[in-house]
Symmetry: C2
Subunit: 431 residues, 2 copies
């Protein structure tokens, strides 16, 4: 898929290791509770998701050379995975040095979850000779099954010994669950006359242990920035990127985005909302908007990325509500799968969005790289070529462009189509 | 499927014609824009949905012998079908005598929609010699296509001439779209020493023109009741029946429930919130809760009716929010299709419900006619027999029983599973 271009940044390779001073690794420690079928394995290999095939990595570690400023944003679900509770406690001082993540088991809704999450931090701390309070922990996978700690205990030395400054590919593989595609983005930008880097990896949605819609995102930067502004930037950018994606409307119990800043770029520390901060936010946006788009495109069973742009609203909030209403509509999503320019469903979803605008001013265009069709003007249908519509909708990236009036508020949201494979992935588990 | 029993009422046959003094008819006037395939036809015949097979009825008429008290509740979608605007105007005096309904075309988002809806009323008025303001009009089907009025114009005489006091089956067929099952319920109850009747028919969700999730419900009663109390009863009962059903989360542009009361039962007119009014509400509940359950069971592509009961909440609103959160979760719905006791997904959906309760007090049971399993206690998993779970989940009606504390608030919501057929029905249209 195409990266969304953002002015002022340069895309580079390397994911979480793109930022100077971060090592990473990922290993297969044996948490998998169901071996891949041949079909799954072939499909994963074909999608470049499983370089080491049969034994998918399931345990990742990211370590900074020096102590980092660290902040995070967590799920709003009342059910919170045990790792989230432990991580919150560990980074309340705004500092961290390492991140350990396992896939396969979410370590959520278990009586001993917190104990096991703390144990994971202690294993890292002992192995690296750091403080366990400097370790961030995250888990993703099946909810409500006791986490076996032995595979992690047995694998921790191998995991630490294999850390390298280009280990991002091994790490990102280890956090994947039902994902079919690797999701990494890194950019360079300028702050205070220095070249800084932000790199990130994300997991969300796919095929191997279909029991969650969990999103985990880990971001590193070598920029020097205060904890307060790092948190502000993360809050700002999450709001307009990850929080505007929906695959199936289910908010996970283990969602977490964390960012570690180690200051290795030696820029003048960003401590106020100045131009450098703006550059930083812009670069963070470039990383996160592209991770968000990759996540939507790789939504469970998806064949298409859907981008819904709403503009002309009185407020950004109204535009966001309308755009999200469209990309979460099951009827709209199935129409996209069927490559059907069924704009009545778009208008229906616009109509039930809980926001303030005049439905008689709504205009809708459907676009892709193959062109654009105008399907609705002032709330009523417009004649269009069904042939042209078919051609446009065959593409992998579809844009729904909705104008709701003359206001200055606009917003973009990302989703995917609803397909047979979504039902298969989520209906067949354990059967 | 089993009817939900309600004390104080007796179920009878006859749908909208069960109430004394109401005639009905349904004909095929030729609005269908896509003939049924053989498979669709066979399936519809097998499901008892199409007594006349090939040419499904598409135009229905209900006529009362004398003027009725009439009230309605409409969609909250900002996009409102033209028939809704016309009906609102016609029954603002609380009176009506006839209802005309077409399927296939929703007459929504068309420049001439209101004109066509008014024309439909005028055709009925001229044919029956009544005032056109006494006619209720409704349409359901594809949004945004101009309604051809000729087939209706040509069919109106046949429609009126065929009216009979047992014509409910022909009428209910005419309002079906993607429905695979007929949905009619009628009950008798006592008010003021007289036997009164309430009968209703509903359409919602299925297989023929998959372009809407529209619900239309028409209810008749021979009870004598004031317009004010009729509206109060309808509002009360819609809130706890139809408004607690979700098939796919999409609120239609043409939703309407209307009720006509002709007073033929000669009960002392119900004009205050007395015991008779309570009996009336109870009977209306019996009709509407069973129509709601039938709609959920016949949700597009559904194989199961899911009933989610939440209790122990501080308020009824909290219980409703939790129950609806569970039955609308795509991940939960696919698990039900897969007959998988994946309670983590139930807890996840409980957790993101925007309501106030202590997640650590949540207990969950999964039940059916085959028994009950306890899967979650105080927010954490409980060991259960997977074999027993399989047996329970094989049934067609599944109950999810969720306790969230010690409060007195409880609510029930109805939904269905999410299946390959839902995607097929809604993805394949026009392709």
């Amino acid at each position: 898929m195409n990266l969304k271009e953002v002015k002022g940044v340069t895309f580079i390779d390397g994911g979480v290791c793109a930022s100077k001073g971060f090592r990473a690794n990922g290993i297969h420690c044996g948490l998998a509770h169901k071996p891949l079928t041949d079909t799954e394995e072939n499909s994963a290999v074909a999608n470049n998701a499983l370089p080491s095939a049969k034994k998918k990595n399931d345990l990742a570690l990211i370590v900074a050379d020096k102590e980092c400023t660290a902040v995070a944003v967590y799920t709003t679900n009342k059910v919170k995975g045990a790792p989230i509770l432990v991580t919150k406690e560990h980074i309340k001082n705004g500092k961290a040095k390492a991140v350990i993540v396992n896939s396969v088991n979410a370590n959520t809704c278990n009586a001993d979850g917190v104990e096991k999450a703390e144990k994971m931090c202690r294993l890292v701390a002992d192995e690296l000779g750091i403080d366990e309070n400097d370790v961030i922990v995250a888990s993703t996978g099946v909810i409500g099954q006791v986490l076996p700690i032995e595979p992690i205990e047995n694998g921790i030395s191998e995991l630490a010994e294999g850390l390298t400054y280009d280990g991002n590919a091994r790490a990102v593989e280890a956090i994947m669950t039902t994902d079919t595609q690797v999701k990494e983005v890194a950019v360079q930008f300028e702050a205070g006359g220095k070249i800084c880097t932000i790199g990130g990896m994300l997991k969300g949605s796919g095929m191997i242990h279909p029991n969650m819609a969990t999103t985990l995102t880990f971001i590193t930067t070598d920029a020097d920035i205060s904890a307060e502004l790092l948190q502000l930037a993360l809050n700002d950018i999450v709001k307009i990127t990850l929080n505007r994606v929906s695959v199936d409307g289910d908010t996970s119990t283990n969602d977490m985005v964390c960012i570690l800043a180690n200051g290795t770029a030696e820029n003048k520390s960003i401590a106020s909302e100045n131009q450098d901060f703006e550059n930083f936010e812009n670069a963070l946006y470039a990383v996160m908007v592209n991770l968000a788009r990759k996540m939507a495109r790789d939504g469970e069973g998806a064949t298409k990325l859907i981008e819904c742009i709403c503009h002309g609203a009185d407020t950004e909030k109204t535009a966001e509500t309308v755009a999200k209403s469209v990309i979460t509509s099951s009827l709209f999503k199935t129409a996209m799968f069927g490559e059907d320019a069924n704009w009545g469903r778009i208008l229906c979803a616009v109509g039930y969005a809980e926001a303030d605008f005049d439905i008689n001013k709504v205009c809708v265009y459907i676009r892709s790289e193959k062109g654009s069709i105008h399907v609705c003007e002032n709330g009523a249908g417009v004649d269009f070529s069904e042939e042209k519509a078919k051609e446009i909708l065959k593409e992998e990236e579809i844009i729904i462009d909705i104008s709701v009036g003359d206001g200055a508020g606009s917003a973009v949201a990302w989703g995917c189509d609803l397909t047979y494979d979504y039902v298969k992935i989520n209906g067949d588990y354990r059967s």
